[in-house]
């Protein structure tokens, strides 16, 4: 049955240009995924700028060294093809770094000139029959289609597709995380631990991207998902993709090995976390443990404690599609009103999710799928917002609209602690509710705890009072 479309559309003069993007390109998504692999070396087959600028964005977000090698394509190699440079890169990495796995992501340049990466990798392997070579996985990530979100998806799929082998059932559950903060990945692992369920995390950035101060942080990652775990994915009880946009590996496993796939939602907020816990328990045939019920109770407690400050505050939210849709649901659960929701990816699943939430929660946010920050700002000007949730690129909009920016997502380069921002699960939810509400208290309430009343309203009140006096 069709229901009336509750989602408000926005039309304006801008049709061709992107102004202040809210997405990045596919190879960025590939790198985001590859940083969660143990003893690995990500390699971008393209110009040096691709790896260097991505490293720049990632390093200033995580405040960790980020190592991504480049095949350093130049004019000559563009004309004759990238085979020489890719072969050379594989040789240099193998000899000097000896990783267990090299994952090679393509770029717009090498896709356009038509380099056959899989063929070149085979040639390299054939040329070195006596050497112990790392596992080498090609990933096609043409920058000119879709966005970093799809780059992440393709990377997980390529890793699983290339490596997985059916052996014996392992009783584990595959979790495709999507691009999360290390703290959020850590929370997912904690939840599995609470359930006494073993997971294969695709991929596990929790230690790699929040490393202690130590020289060893400069070596290839000591933590993260192993090649062995990737191989073992076909033997799991099932796959849960926390990101609906990163579930292709799960689809592959389901089709080829009959491994059940549950796609989304991101366990952010009360209802979405409920879904995740139920999915995990259903896959592994588990009872929901008491301590998880207690954590859930604490989140409800936090939401109740905060409700009066949050009620009917208008929210504008931007970032990756699963984050935005689940944040839309969560803030609605808290009694807030999402007015503008924006993601850079042109995603039908995203608009469907927002439609469902809008219907359930009786809200009608301006929905921008494939929007940029210009579009979002125009929408905010039109429908208003009391708080903006998103990455550091939202700072100038928040400043112009005189509203606070609650930083979450990627990249965050103007505040510390991006790697420790925690929003997932009941515990991350508690953290989020507290911090968001405190942001509201800081901004909209005075030091004595009274809501700050706009000056204009005050004057009108004063006049009324004066008139009554007369």
């Amino acid at each position: 049955m069709h229901h009336d479309k509750k989602v408000t559309e926005i039309h304006h003069d801008k049709k061709f240009s992107v102004v202040n993007p809210s997405k990045m390109c596919q190879p960025m998504g590939a790198v985001q995924a590859l940083l969660g692999l143990k003893n690995s070396m990500p390699l971008i087959h393209g110009s040096q700028g691709c790896s260097t600028y991505m490293r720049f964005q990632l390093t200033r977000h995580f405040r960790e060294p980020i190592e991504v090698a480049s095949t350093s394509m130049n004019e000559k190699t563009v004309i004759y093809g990238g085979e020489y440079n890719l072969m050379k890169a594989l040789k240099n990495i193998t000899e000097k770094q000896s990783p267990s796995i090299i994952a090679v992501a393509s770029s717009c340049l090498t896709e356009t000139i038509g380099d056959d990466m899989a063929g070149i990798i085979r040639k390299f392997e054939d040329a070195n029959p006596d050497k112990e070579l790392p596992v080498i996985v090609p990933i096609s990530t043409p920058s000119y289609t879709e966005s970093h979100v799809e780059g992440y998806n393709r990377t997980i799929k390529a890793l699983v597709e290339n490596l997985t082998t059916l052996t014996a059932p392992n009783g584990k559950v595959n979790i495709i995380t999507g691009f999360l903060s290390p703290a959020d990945v850590g929370e997912v692992k904690e939840i599995l631990n609470d359930l006494n369920l073993e997971g294969i995390i695709l991929t596990d950035t929790s230690e790699n991207l929040d490393a202690p101060l130590s020289e060893s942080a400069l070596n290839l990652y000591d933590g993260g998902t192993t090649v062995g775990q990737l191989e073992d994915t076909a033997n799991s009880l099932g796959t849960i993709a926390l990101s609906k946009h990163a579930d292709s590996a799960g689809e592959f496993l389901e089709k080829k090995f009959g491994i059940k796939l549950i796609s989304g939602p991101l366990p952010l907020g009360l209802e979405n976390t409920d879904s995740f816990i139920r999915s995990a328990c259903q896959l592994a045939d588990l009872e929901i443990p008491e301590n998880i019920e207690k954590d859930r109770g604490r989140l409800m407690d936090a939401m109740v404690d905060a409700h009066s400050y949050n009620y009917h505050r208008k929210m504008a939210i931007f970032g990756d599609p699963d984050f935005v849709s689940s944040m839309t649901r969560f803030t609605s659960e808290m009694g807030m009103i999402p007015t503008v929701v924006c993601t850079g990816a042109k995603s039908k699943r995203f608009t469907e999710d927002i439609e469902t939430i809008s219907k359930e929660k009786e809200c009608s946010p301006v929905t921008l799928a494939g929007g940029d920050l210009y579009d979002m700002h125009e929408a905010i000007k039109k429908v208003g917002a009391d708080i903006l949730i998103g990455n550091s690129y939202g700072a100038s909009i928040a400043d112009e609209e005189n509203i606070p920016l609650f930083r979450a997502g990627f990249p965050i380069f103007d505040r510390l602690g991006a790697q420790r921002i925690s929003t997932l699960g009941y515990r991350g939810g508690i953290d989020f509710v507290d911090r968001l509400t405190n942001t509201i208290l800081d901004f909209y309430y005075d030091e004595a705890g009274y809501e700050i009343v706009e000056e204009e309203d005050m004057i009108i009140e004063d006049q009324k009072f004066a008139e009554e006096e007369i």
Partner: protein, 455 residues
């Protein structure tokens, strides 16, 4: 005969001669070579080089013609400040998709330029070619010309396909060429003075330009344009009428000064406003160039009061910094221009290097540093980590990508690139410089870095 030398740190055979020690045989490292494929190079692409030169033009739209990533990773990263517009901070892209790759992106580019002009009415629209725009053969020159005719706004092609060269130096030149071919000399100033100058290669990072602009104005020179920090395109258009170009970042902009000398007969002098001594020298050289006795007198007064104002203000810092060692690993210019400033703080520059240096850059470094200083070219991240581990300087000066390599090793770090916090140029800038260096070198947190609970 070339003396046999031990490699400075363990690396690829072909990379060994990219590092040397001044005064020990090889004093200029091998340089200007392609990075080895498969290493984590600290270099970027030609597009990056062009963009960094032009991006500080504040009243202009900088439109990246390519897939979204090239714009998405590089918008608003220059750290360059503006006293007027902030159009230059917008991240604009044609967001090329698969269809555009197959059928060409020219039409989309044209429509995008028209649309951005309507939205912002900018001083100019710079259109940057990326790798893929070059490979599919989009004629961005023709599109820019047509769009310029339609809009009446300057639409300037920048032929900066990323893969053109092994480092961004060529990108700097391409950025300069865009100005030479399309901007400089296209507008006549309303009035001229005998003391008209351009400030070339000053990008106003963290507001550096504002640290010495008042000094220049007080001297009595008339600044026609800065190329390109805190500038408007119409100012740069009049740059050909200057009597002198002063060049601050020689790495990126000496090329432009040389070409302007050839085309317009404008002589140039190299200046350096980092450090007291260099600031004094630079002011005197400018005054000497004009040879005007009143200006020379004014300049001496400015120097006197400038030095008096900061006297003793750095004493506290210098006391703590005395004898501390510093390693520079930067894009280019700062590898030599900061050396004296550190020496004025009582510090010892024990290593200097660049990511994109060409031979003339290393000649400058060699001139600036003492015997025994390590000079490195294009050190990849592994080499950099090994250098820091082996020599343990008290401070590394570099950019964002190097920051956490140093910090994880417990080596204090200052970002003197785009993410700098305060302005360092001029007399007062030197005090900020001393303060920021001290805040890293002398922080007690670094004494804790090698402690552990279990001993």
């Amino acid at each position: 005969m070339e003396p046999k030398l031990e490699p400075i740190v363990e690396t690829f055979k072909s990379r060994e001669k990219h590092m040397c020690v001044k005064g020990e045989g090889l004093s200029i490292p091998v340089c200007d070579k392609a990075s080895l494929p498969g290493t984590v190079t600290q270099r970027t692409c030609v597009y990056g080089g062009a963009r960094i030169v032009l991006m500080p033009i504040t009243d202009s739209i900088h439109l990246v013609h390519g897939p979204i990533g090239c714009a998405a990773c590089t918008w608003d990263i220059r750290g360059s400040k503006s006293s007027r517009e902030d159009l230059y901070k917008k991240g604009c892209s044609t967001d090329l998709g698969e269809k555009d790759i197959v059928f060409g992106g020219e039409k989309k580019l044209f429509e995008t330029v028209i649309e951005l002009h309507k939205l912002y009415n900018p001083g100019a629209i710079f259109v940057y070619a990326t790798c893929v725009a070059g490979v599919i053969g989009d004629d961005i020159k023709a599109v820019c010309k047509k769009a310029e005719e339609v809009t009446g706004c300057r639409v300037i092609p920048v032929q900066s396909e990323g893969f053109q060269d092994h480092n961004k130096t060529k990108g700097h030149w391409i950025g300069c060429d865009a100005l030479l071919d399309h901007v400089i000399g296209t507008k006549e100033p309303e009035e001229t003075t005998p003391f008209d100058i351009n400030v070339v290669g000053e990008f106003n990072v963290a507001g550096d330009f504002w640290g010495f602009k008042p000094l220049l104005e007080e001297m009595g020179v008339n600044i026609i344009s800065t190329i390109t920090g805190d500038s408007h395109v119409e100012e740069i258009a009049q740059a050909h009428r200057a009597k002198l170009n002063i060049v601050q970042c020689q790495k990126s902009s000496n090329y432009l000064a040389k070409k302007m000398e050839k085309k317009y007969g404008i002589p140039s002098i190299k200046v350096n406003f980092f450090g007291l001594e260099q600031t004094v020298n630079s002011l005197r050289e400018i005054a000497d160039f004009f040879g005007d006795p009143e200006m020379i007198e004014r300049t001496e007064k400015i120097i006197e009061s400038g030095l008096a104002e900061v006297e003793h203000k750095t004493d506290e810092y210098r006391e703590r910094l005395q004898g501390k060692t510093v390693a520079l690993y930067v894009g280019g210019n700062k590898a030599w221009s900061l050396v004296r400033a550190f020496e004025e703080l009582g510090m010892d520059v024990m290593m200097s290097g660049t990511k994109n240096g060409i031979r003339e850059d290393y000649e400058r470094i060699k001139e600036a540093v003492r015997d025994g200083t390590i000079i490195v070219d294009d050190a990849n991240s592994t080499e950099l980590a090994r250098l820091l581990k082996k020599y343990r300087p008290n401070l590394l000066i570099s950019g964002a990508k190097e920051k956490y390599i140093a910090l994880k090793l417990g080596v204090p770090f200052c970002d003197f690139n785009h993410d700098r916090i305060s302005a360092f140029a001029g007399f007062n800038g030197f005090v900020s410089f001393a303060k920021e260096v001290d805040a890293s070198v002398s922080s007690p947190v670094f004494d804790l870095t090698f402690t552990s609970l279990r001993g």
